[in-house]
Symmetry: C2
Amino acid sequence: MSRTPLSPTPRTVVNRHRERAATDRAALDDVLDSALICHLGVLFDGAPVVLPTGYGRDGDTLYLHGSTGSRSMGPGPVCVTVTIVDGIIYARSVMHHSMNYRSAVVLGTTRLVDDPEEKLRGLEVITEHLAPGSWGHARLPNKKELAATVVLALDLTEASVKIRNAPPNDEDFDVEANTAWAGVLPVTTGWGVPESASPLPVPEHVLKR
Amino acid sequence: MSRTPLSPTPRTVVNRHRERAATDRAALDDVLDSALICHLGVLFDGAPVVLPTGYGRDGDTLYLHGSTGSRSMGPGPVCVTVTIVDGIIYARSVMHHSMNYRSAVVLGTTRLVDDPEEKLRGLEVITEHLAPGSWGHARLPNKKELAATVVLALDLTEASVKIRNAPPNDEDFDVEANTAWAGVLPVTTGWGVPESASPLPVPEHVLKR
């Protein structure tokens, strides 16, 4: 798997809280690989529309899942944003309340994946991102299903990563006054008990997720 | 608290999976009140940019938190999308893999909140959404902090809600074949143990969240 370094352009330079900007490529991959969904921003009649979308990463390419009936699948500039909230920052002042989070923003123009081999690979990447192990367990797409599906590719060339992972950042006079509690309340994400819709036993790749 | 019904416009009519569209206002409020962050889509040099943003709801108004240094705070059309992923759908075929989710999309033009009273109220709503109980516990904003903060208001007039809350939806021939497991793996979100950055005891509104 090749890795290109992040290339900040004027659009992806982090203006606010520059200390939270991560510039290495590993951080980008980590954020993209850790979330379940992305938020895809597209233009619709000249206005931005943001839609939750399934995705997956294959090296330097992000694959996005669409459908031939969806408004988000036309050509044009897009923005893919992935955010994981890790904790709530309770500060001594309300204005220093914040979040610990990891966020990636990828800008570019999507490419409609036409090549049948790449389309299948893109669907494998998207499926394995959502449900690791399913590509080797469930029935693979037939021709009719493939035709009804749109896969978009987006190069990871213009991207930025922003990470906050720190305790509250209070004013000195608030720390001294010591009149309010401050700390981090971690946000945890996990899996519940699988709800079977099938007479078969729950497979290992689901049980062990 | 007044409630206006959802008014779908051509932009907010759900095209894909219409059976997942919820049209009542209570569903919109529920989704908006359940998530921690929204994804705010704005135009930047004619292209969409999507940024994770703190927010809160007060009746028919969404308040968004910004800063005078942020690129997302100019006038123009915006899209605010809030998504909660409730479960992963493992189907008998990879193409019927999906998610159970609740998602709200609000379109409109933001209004810069100038009035000091409304600005304070907006900040209260945003703070209490992020950290319920903090407005009555932490130090409230001073004049300098208020001046450095941007609060935007967005009316909840053009919005759509999409909810999937169902078992896998497999093809009959896949159910009959019975060669792959199908079911829902719930996604759970919770709170970890508070990490104190203060000598004070953890207050009730944090402990009991």
